[in-house]
Amino acid sequence: MQNFQLNRRYVISQILKDRKNSLIINGLGGTCWDVASLGDNELNFYVWGGMGNSCMIALGLALSQPKRKVIVVTGDGEMLMGIGSLATIAVKQPKNLSIVVFDNELYGETGKQKTHTGHGADLSAIAIGAGIKNSSIIKTHEQLSLLSSNINIIKELTFSQIKINNEEGPLVLPIREGAYIKSRFRKALLGKNALLE
């Protein structure tokens, strides 16, 4: 069984501590609760379904808002299901998109079954192979500190695979109604007239 240093709730708090106006997309399950654990924010689009598509939602958002930072925080299982999206994103090279994968090598919501990363699949190598040059694996506090100090300002497509341990924080569930999450996000980002279109 894996025994990594980093705790997911500590990691999320560091990555988003300087988020300012960054736009946040999460993956299903654990990373959704992680983002919610920092408090609600209208510029979070909480993804509750459609496993495998979080990075693509983030790409569409990043392309439509090139001046805004977009961070997608997802898990290893969700990333594996949408692994082809790394190649699609690499073709576009959006400078305002950062992909962060919380990798505990487990399907956390379904009984902690081992994912492919637990069998050796190397997501950061796959990301490099797909064409995302700034791709790294993060296992230590020092590496995390470097990432958290620049993720909200870096103007380059990045992929960060963060090895996290099995410690879980309190369950924090954000709002669930998709149409509301969508409209609230659009109003906060685009202004109230966006809802009159």
Binding site: V91, R186, L190
Partner: protein, 179 residues
């Protein structure tokens, strides 16, 4: 931008392109299909259109949800087999959140189809979309395309719906395996 004087009245891909341009469609998500070849080329030559080539059609469903979150409209171009790849994303993202979506789908597996492996998904395409409560309209003739795409665009982006236009194999011509 295509010179209007070059426009053949029955050039339905150009009719579609004109609608996409006039409606300020910014993200073109596609998995190539021979039936979409001309439209993809028109869009590639338009600086205002951002072409996103997908590894699988379902990526386009997520992409265009994200585009809408950021204030841009898009379109998803694919062939009918791609609808099968999109099912969960259409249900669990587009429908679950009431995202607008316009899909332009070239049909395989019907009129004079040569490849029997295309037929079951071709037959299932419209039923699957209807089962997901997605609006579907079908074009058999060139002169129907412009009006139909325009109407389904309106349904998608004025009434916040998921809409699909099926461009029939009779319209696009069946694939010739001899060339």
């Amino acid at each position: 931008m295509v010179n209007k004087f070059e426009k053949n009245l029955l050039n339905w891909p150009l009719d579609i392109y004109d609608i996409l341009r006039e409606d300020k469609i910014r993200q073109i998500a596609y998995v190539p299909d021979a039936g979409h070849k001309s439209l993809i080329e028109y869009c590639q030559n338009d600086k205002n259109m951002n072409m996103v080539s997908l590894t699988s059609e379902e990526e386009g469903v997520g992409l265009l949800a994200g585009a809408w979150l950021g204030g841009e409209k898009g379109v998803l171009l694919m062939q009918s087999s791609g609808v099968g790849n999109c099912i969960n994303a259409l249900a669990s993202i587009t429908r679950a959140c009431d995202f607008p979506l316009l899909m332009l789908i070239t049909m395989r597996g019907e009129w004079n189809e040569f490849n029997p492996w295309q037929v079951p998904m071709g037959k299932a395409t419209e039923k699957i979309l209807s089962t997901l409560d997605i609006n579907v309209s079908r074009c058999e003739k060139s002169e129907e395309v412009s009006e139909t795409v325009n109407a389904m665009m309106g349904l998608a982006y004025k009434s916040n719906c998921a809409s699909a236009v099926l461009l029939s194999q009779r319209l696009i011509g069946s694939k010739n395996f001899k060339e």
